[in-house]
Amino acid sequence: MGMRRRIQAALRREGLPLERFPFSCSGTRQSSGRNSGEFRYVRCYRFVECALVGRSMRVLASILCLVLLFATGCSDPAQFRLNEVELLKLQYQQQAKQEALDAERAQDVVDALTALFGTPDHPRFPYLLGDSDPARDLVQLENLNKAAGAVSSNRSGEHRGLYREHCAQCHGITGNGSGPTSGFLNPYPRDFRLGKFKYKSTKLGQRPTDDDLWRVIVNGIPGTAMPSFRTLNESEIVALIDYVKYLTIRGRVEYKLLAELAVLAPDERLIDLDWRRVQTEFQPDPEVGGGDARRDSYDDQLAALVETYFDEVNLWSRPPTKVPEIPDWLSQRDSVFRDRVNEGRVLFSGKANCAMCHGFTGLGDGQTENYDDWTNQWVKGANLDPRDAQACAPFLDAGAFPPRAIRPRNLRLRVYRGGDRYVDLYRRIANGIEGTGMPDSTALSEQEIWSLVAYVLNLPYEEAQ
């Protein structure tokens, strides 16, 4: 027995007499001192022996270990999950042809996505334009390999599988926000596939900058379950940023391919891989499998697929919006500040119309009927009433979250999810919040926005009127 040998070896190393420690539960009486090293060894050994001494127990433990070994060794490798909610939504829509969305055509989408982006264990990010491909600056394959795959570390302490270690439990392997804990969280974890990020420095409709993603990962999002990952080192955070971008681009391409699938004619394929495989098997006879017409069609399909990928890649790397210099009066809290607060109060319930959602007192009790874009994507797309549980049930089965109306922020709590710096508040008002009902404010001047910032900052401490 290995344990016995190890204990015997340990006793030998310590120079302790073996004959004084019978390796049986029915052994002879010991005479070692209670506080001696001998006692500790015997106690250790006896504890283990008492647990495993029974013959049947040993057999049972062996069987269990064997089963455990098989169970852990035989699991399927992780796979990205097909966006079944979107597929179902397309089926609900009038223009979608049921036959265009069958399993065979869905297989085309999965194959195309895997060819472009690989799997969760072996991610790919094609650099198709040579050394000058802008995708190289956007996402580095080295970072993807560091963030992807199973959690592990090498002898030098370098971690791999960072995404599954820190993110996947909420955001899911696919980045669809459906990790094991997601159903218990409010708000739900971000589904990256829609390409929308709430707290960023860019305009509505644009992707966030690396700095925006860095800030969210390092600081977390106050008032939500998103924690701070400040303890990760710089290279690990950069790897996670690249992986989030990768999941986002992959998810967006998936949306587009599914949309293309929905408008195909019954005899069309997204990618004519049947023809391609026939070509591979019967080369060099060009007439086999349909000839030049199908070849041209396949070339067009391939070009369209790559173009979809390029389109998504090119949406990134947008510059942040400029924020004017922070006025001195904002930090001095003098009479100018009070004037600006009063101006902000008027704007809040007037021109800026903040009160419609945030309420006239800033308690966030203006409206409670809006849903975010992640819910509207399938609720409005399938023309459903989000309060109708029965109608929504098929979507929930497909992986959608139960619809939950978003609540405008209670500004009196002084919990600002996008950050509490002056520049953060300015950008929230100026740029809006992507995916929510919070609009940008193109009609407001810089001074008016700063006045609103002053009013919002003053709200928790506002004197009774």
Partner: protein, 68 residues
Amino acid sequence: MLDRSRCLNPADSTLDLAPSPSVRLRVAAILLGCLIGAGCTGQPTATTQPDPANVDLLIKDIENRPWE
């Protein structure tokens, strides 16, 4: 039930220190529970698996063509 305090005392070795059947059953149940638990928290699997042959063909075709 196993008297652990006596079991851990090396000076008292005349006792039958083997775990009782109920203790063995509990240990087995805990191990089985861990096993099932570990199996149930695996990664979500895709509803549609990629076809490796198709994927290989597509990768070749995508990477072997000049793109502008």
